[in-house]
């Protein structure tokens, strides 16, 4: 047996693995909406640490109003 069969088998099985990954991604709906994820990934985790900036903001507002 030549080594070429081994190489062919490897290359095709790698290709098939990627093909299966593609099929899986289509099936799970990843191609249905190609826009929203691109926006979603840019959001920081604002929600987690919202408490602090919120306080800051209200303090900021207070100082502002006292200045006036």
């Amino acid at each position: 047996m030549s080594v070429i069969y081994v190489l062919l088998a490897i290359s095709i099985s790698v290709a098939l693995a990627f093909f299966a990954a593609f099929l899986f991604s289509v099936k799970s709906g990843q191609y249905d909406d190609t826009y929203t994820p691109s926006v979603r990934m840019l959001f920081e985790d604002e929600v987690v640490n919202d408490q602090k900036p919120k306080n800051k903001k209200s303090k900021h507002n207070q100082t502002k109003s006292t200045n006036q």
């Binding site: 030549s2 069969y5 290709a15 099929l23 709906g29 929203t36 959001f43 929600v47 919202d50 502002k64």
Partner: protein, 790 residues
Amino acid sequence: MANAACYHCGDQCGKYHVRFDERDFCCNGCKTVYEIFTSNGLSTFYDIEARAGTTPNEVRKKYDFLDNQEIVDKLVEFNEEGMQVVNLSIPTIHCSSCIWVLENLGRLHSGITSSQVDFPKKTVRVGYKTEEISLKALVLLLGSIGYEPYISLEAYNKEKGKVDRSLIYKLGVAGFAFGNVMLLSFPEYFEVEEFWLDQYKPVFRWLMFAFSVPVVLYAGRDYFLSAYKGLRSRLLNIDVPIALGILTLFLRSTTDIIFDLGSGFFDSLTGLVFFLLLGKFFQQKTYAYLSFERDYKSYFPIAVTKLNEKGEEESIQIYKVEVGDRILIRNQEIIPVDCRLLKGNAEIDYSFVTGESQAVFKEPGEKLFAGGKQLSGVLEVEVLKSVSQSYLTQLWGNSVFTKDKAGNFQTLTDSIGKRFTFAVLTIAVIATVFWLFNEPSMALNVFTAVLIIACPCAIALAAPFTLGNMLRIFGKHKFYLKNTNAIERLSKINMAIFDKTGTLTTTQKETILYEGMELSEEETALLKTTLRASNHPLSRSLYDILKSNAIMTLDEFQEHTGKGIEGRVKDHSMKVGSAAYVGKHKSMLPSNTAVYISSDENVKGRFVFKNAYREGVDKIFEAMGRQMEVGVLSGDNDGERKQLQQMLSKDANILFNQKPEDKLNHIKRMQESHNVLMVGDGLNDAGALAQSDVGIAVSENINVFSPACDAILDASKLTLLPKFIKLSRKSMQIIKLSFLLSLCYNVVGLYFAVTGQLLPVVAAILMPLSSISIVVFATLCTNLIGKELK
């Protein structure tokens, strides 16, 4: 400060200016949303995009039907163990801030466990615990932050069908096979005569064969089906030579490798299918959030409030409404069935149905028709006909709504394909006969080679890429076409018919003219004072234009619904209302909406309300008139005939008082000698839009209703319409040029084929080269002519 922009929605603050937390708001609604967001840690909403909010509508009792469990069960996608998942359509989604806030709904209510936005479709999928929040509460919550979901009968009837992803799968299969086959056929391209390469030839070839089988059987299946269908109906469409090409490629290649005659054309085969599918994919640009198939179902509510025998209110599903039921119609609700008015002041806006913008008043006992919108107060009515039997809904029984316009239209590609197939077959036969006499062993080789090389891949790609790209360019200018076929039909138009109300005129502004005796200053002041007390929309707009600051105190005020109002100060009285009410016989002249005035029982004159025409309407007529016949069909009375006739050419066809069926029939008559474009807006045009060769719905807000049509045009871009038509014609020229270009490639290819020298490597170079150059040519040209729109 009055001109400050609202911190929430960005509108001008104007007179209801609210100041809160150091920021300006245009109304209390916006302020409330701001409060909700900031107190729940969602103020980032304003950081992502400034002034991105939407003013919440007043959420009325209209979602009471969501208390009905049966309706909820139909709407939710998943419902088990205290969890429900619902997919709601929210037309106001428009920016990344919307995505952010809607995906953080859980912050506003602990019962909401997940929410995910699909921006292109403008939907949000929300999962929630039913113990903590009901669907109704969820909908009200969304409404309160300015994202009111749009729940219509259409959503109710929709089958929770699967998304069709077959084209992506096919494209994946073809692309996968194409790449691998190219790789495997590489050694043979160089024909290296080496012992070890020779030895493994069969392995490589049979592997390529294995990769090609799914391409032919699965990815290319549509071409065989379409060719078969075409042949059965005696049509030689473009898919016939394509299917023939694919089949020949496959059979010839298989025989080649079985008898060891050559390496076969598997690389060309898979490449061909891949490119063809790519074209299809490109053409398949649809505007997911726009619906081109809407009928009355998307206008109608899902449920109505029924009064049962005990007089209790009860929400029932609209199809369960039976003749004889008593139902309630609330302010701003659509009447879903033909019925008789029992109680209440009916002021019905039938503009959906007839196009007539003036509201009509009805007395108890009179008949109301489905499709009207109640404008003031609550009505109690008795149902006379069920939903599907009503006057408006019967219109949809007409066969035009089931007709497939695209199916009956022969595209340029198909008509060329016919001649092309014929020519290819002739050449193939002649060449075969020639070789049969000279060198019979070559005959079959030449016959198949001709069919292979002549496979009209480039021709089949020209239209999808040209039109697909045009579709995108149009889309950027807010002209949304249903499919590429519509562009081709648009290019063939030679008559344009416009609806008047809502299409040529805008509902956003009115012009008010006064006709009659001049009013004294005192009378004007009294008139204005009287008007101030009334809430009627006509009074409100009249009040706004009257120039008088002397506001008096009324001694007496009376409002006679459906007739008019009366005000009295000391010994002077002022009556405002319909002609009959003020004591004037209605003039026989058909006219616009008018409000009559009488002072101390003397008729003074009338205010005429005219819809203002959109800017540039005359220019549209002028530009279109040069290319085609232009006409107007209106559901309104003919009060504006003169004005229209001035804008149009003298012989233009202008018809008034057209009912929906009349419009449909008029278009049908015109189609005997013309290709008709219909431009309309409301449900009353639905029949005409469906019947016409191309139906364009003009819409002030593309996210809201538009009837079934081939294209939706944003009202602000109406003036570009003549240019869109011109560009569609130019696109067809580009396609023709592309055909010419691909023909050149075919001639070169045919030379190799006919002389019997077609090697797989030549085919493998020539076919992708021609395809790619056509794609590049088509894309560049369309981009170039698309610049005209700017």
